[in-house]
């Protein structure tokens, strides 16, 4: 009996950090089946100051594929089951306009987290996040003006465009949870530091929509969850 108590206490001591701080990881790959639409060349001839920054013209980034039918830029996040996190990180995320391109094409951030928009081009851009749930705004940013600082209060996938340069499109993925990531060039993603529990993971691709999967993890295991989207040729 004495031994059992000690064993249980030891077990608690070992497991509780895992419960409090989370040591499990969900990782996987996002890929597609079928034929995706061709990435089209972007014609920047109307803005020579940007066109000359690209020795080969860039292509559309709505669907970015990689080796082995992988999909990049897919937002993977915990949509249910994550422990409640109230405060947004104090660090801002930066969204850059350079060469008449949004870098990154999709940016993920927390609700209430500061978004800094920077214009590194010679030309004026106007940032128009077309929010439906959050407040919609539309601001010009002439070259040489200070970065714009904005926040979004509610979870939403917000398409962003520049009116002046119609090919510039991007997304703000504003999320409640801090457990999110974007799939890399090879389609892989990793959600580390998760406490044990039951979760719903969502993968969101701007053209193909969202998919969810439920997963239960315990302890400090690494669970693999893969997503496969059906590509559309048009």
């Amino acid at each position: 009996m004495f031994k059992t108590r000690w064993f249980l206490a030891l077990l608690t001591l070992v497991v509780s950090p895992g419960l409090l701080f989370g040591a499990a990881t969900i990782s996987g790959k996002v890929s597609y089946t079928g034929t995706p639409a061709k990435s089209k060349t972007i014609d920047m001839s109307k803005e020579p100051s940007c066109a000359k920054q690209h020795t080969t013209p860039i292509t559309t980034e709505a669907v970015v594929t990689g080796p082995n039918n992988s999909l990049a830029n897919v937002v993977v996040y915990i949509s249910a089951g994550a422990p409640d996190e109230s405060s947004a990180p104090s660090q801002a995320v930066t969204f850059t306009q350079k060469g008449c391109q949004y870098i990154p094409h999709v940016i993920a951030l927390r609700t209430g987290q500061e978004l800094k928009v920077v214009n590194e081009d010679q030309t004026s851009h106007n940032i128009h996040p077309m929010a439906k749930v959050n407040r919609e705004w539309n601001k010009s940013q002439p070259p040489g003006t200070p970065p714009l600082s904005e926040k979004f209060d509610k979870e939403e996938f917000i398409p962003v465009k520049c009116n002046v340069h119609p090919w510039m499109h991007g997304y703000f993925a504003v999320l409640k949870t801090s457990h999110y990531t974007l799939s890399g060039e090879d389609g892989s993603f990793k959600l580390p530091d998760l406490p044990a529990g039951k979760y719903t993971i969502t993968a969101w691709q701007e053209d193909y929509g969202a998919q969810t999967q439920d997963v239960t993890i315990s302890g400090s295991e690494t669970k693999t969850v893969d997503f496969t989207f059906k590509a559309k040729p048009y």
């Binding site: 004026s124 601001k139 010009s140 940013q141 070259p143 003006t145 714009l148 009116n163």
Partner: protein
């Protein structure tokens, strides 16, 4: 009009309280001064806006200190955004055309002097008159409020073309509440103008004193009368047009918005409307409006010139017929703003013809002014300098119109700085010269003090030379194809033209600062100017028969009797080389 039965304005007792005397006054003289003060505030704001625009055009990356206080999103760090430039441009045009050029030469001086010049105690409807001013004031406040709404002032230009102005905030920054306020402000302004015009017409037709036949009215009175007739029809069309625009914006109607529009990635929930309908309605008002802006100044300048030349015009009647012809023709030319708008190209030819014909009365008047100068005894004063400057400006501005009246040339010059140069010269500068001439001329009568004459001349020189330095180069830029309403010059062919723009900006800033001389003169003379005699310019019209400033009931309860036309100059009489209109004396030579 029968001289036996002379009708009178409603008698009103002298006002006692401060509010009744200076604020809610029914006295046409106070109302005239109120309109003048409003126009002065509007022109100062409009001028500052033009400085901001010109500075931004030639130094686009330079922060303008303090601008971010007026609008944090419009000028982050003091650097103007493209939309804010267009907003300032819109407010500049709206303030200048409506609140300065319609107010000052017409409502201000007309209100003050029309009743006096026809020998009446006041306007036909003094309370309507008070309402007209305060309604104009409300319209002004609504417009200025647009500066302070979150989405900023409207940016669709003073012409406010649909669908940009009609679809609402989807069209981008500057098309939110500010544009609706614009529509509302102009709607209210139209009401005020209609009331004012009714008053002018009724007064002129019914309240002329004994002996004051229509043929004996001074030319400026004729100009105010003809202008009020034009104004009645023109503003009556703009009023419902603004209402329809507001409805499209807030009530989901589609008067000016066709179907299938995608703005900000959204399919717009409208269909069946026509953008050209807005253009037709607007310009049906808009073209007569520019004659509303210039005709009173033509009248004022003619009146002052005759007085300065000490001889009548070669033909008084011809000038009146010309003013009437311009008024009549002004309703037939509106499509010349729409040659390349997509309307039937045959219509363009049809509009071109009366547009060219309208040159004829304008040319006749100019030749008559010039011909009357011949052999005259011209006196040079600040007032007559501005009147002569008016002739120069009217010619310059009018001549460029000749190009634009031809549709095939307009293919190249439409929407370039050539057009901007044309209307600034002929409407902005020339009309304002009429106002300034009128100010220097009538200030002694209105305030009982003389303005400082040397300062007036200095003001004239800066303004005359400055205005040419600013607006003549606009025509050259237009010939090079420099497009208007651009917030920055980034196109390949525009970059080499920027030095010309720099010259213009500097000229504009210098000329603008020189207006401080005028402001100083206005204020300083009011309190410290030499006391004015009743008739310092030896002028014949009835306002010069009364003390300076006139008593509240003008003729002291008496009704003057008129014996002459107002252009008895170059005659021998007991007063000198002129005869007052109310003098029973006959000319001796």
């Amino acid at each position: 009009m029968s001289v036996a039965s002379v009708q009178h304005a409603q008698h009103h007792a002298p006002p006692q309280s401060f509010i009744r005397k200076y604020i809610f006054s029914v006295d046409h003289k106070v109302i005239g001064k109120q309109y003048y003060a409003l126009a002065l505030v509007a022109v100062l704001i409009g001028m500052v806006l033009s400085w901001l625009m010109r500075i931004h055009l030639v130094w686009p990356n330079a922060p303008i200190p303090g601008l971010q206080l007026l609008s944090k999103s419009g000028a982050p760090g003091g650097i103007m955004t493209p939309e804010y430039y267009l907003s300032l441009l819109t407010m500049h045009g709206t303030l200048m055309v409506f609140f300065v050029l319609t107010n000052a030469p017409f409502a201000a001086f007309g209100n003050y002097f029309l009743p006096i010049q026809i020998g009446a105690e006041d306007m036909a409807f003094p309370r309507f008159n008070m309402m007209s001013f305060w309604t104009t004031f409300v319209a002004f406040c609504i417009l200025v409020a647009a500066f302070f709404v979150p989405d900023g002032p409207p940016l669709a230009g003073w012409t406010s073309y649909a669908p940009l102005s009609a679809v609402g905030p989807d069209a981008g920054p500057g098309e939110g509440l500010g544009q609706t306020l614009w529509g509302l402000s102009i709607f209210v302004f139209c009401i005020a103008s209609l009331l004012g015009s009714l008053n002018f017409i009724a007064t002129t037709l019914d309240l002329r004193t004994k002996g004051m036949t229509l043929a004996r009215m001074p030319l400026c009175t004729w100009a105010w009368f003809i202008t009020s007739c034009i104004s009645l029809l023109a503003f009556a069309v703009l009023l419902p047009a603004c209402l329809l625009l507001i409805l499209d914006r807030v009530a989901g109607t589609s008067f000016f918005i066709p179907g299938g529009l995608v703005i900000s990635d959204r399919l717009q929930p409208h269909s069946g409307g026509s953008p050209l309908l807005w253009q037709h309605l607007f310009w049906f008002f808009g073209h007569p409006e520019v004659y509303i802006a210039i005709l009173p100044s033509i009248g004022i300048v003619s009146h002052i010139l005759v007085n300065s030349m000490r001889r009548p015009l070669l033909s008084y009647r011809v000038v009146i017929y010309c003013m009437m012809a311009i008024g009549f023709l002004s309703y037939m030319v509106w499509g010349h703003h729409m040659f390349v708008s997509g309307m039937n190209p045959f219509s363009s030819l049809m509009f071109s013809f009366p547009t060219l014909v309208i040159t004829i009365p304008a040319t006749i008047m100019t030749l008559i002014w010039l011909g009357s100068l011949y052999g005259s005894r011209l006196r040079i004063t600040s007032a007559s300098l501005f009147a002569l400057g008016f002739i120069s400006m009217f010619v310059s501005g009018g001549v460029s119109g000749f190009f634009l009246a031809q549709p095939s040339i307009d293919i190249y010059l439409h929407a370039t700085y050539f057009v901007v140069g044309h209307f600034h010269m002929v409407m902005g500068v020339a009309s304002l010269f009429g106002v300034l001439a009128g100010t220097y001329f009538w200030y002694p009568k209105m305030t009982g003090r003389m303005m400082n004459e040397p300062l007036g001349r200095i003001h004239f020189w800066f303004t005359f030379v400055g205005a040419y330095c600013i607006f003549m180069p606009f025509h050259y830029l237009g010939l090079a194809g420099n497009v208007r309403r651009y917030s920055a010059f980034v196109d390949d062919y525009l970059l080499p033209l920027i030095p010309v723009h720099r010259f213009i900006t500097i000229a504009a800033l210098v000329t603008g600062v020189a207006q401080l001389i005028f402001l100083y003169n206005l204020i300083h003379s009011r309190f410290l100017g030499a006391p004015a005699p009743p008739n310092p310019w030896e002028c014949t019209s009835l306002e010069w028969t009364m003390p300076s400033p006139p008593p509240f009931d003008n003729f002291g309860g008496k009704h003057p009797v008129v014996y002459h036309d107002p252009y008895q100059y170059g005659v021998k009489s007991s007063t000198g080389d002129f005869l007052m209109q109310d003098s029973p004396e006959e000319a001796q030579a």
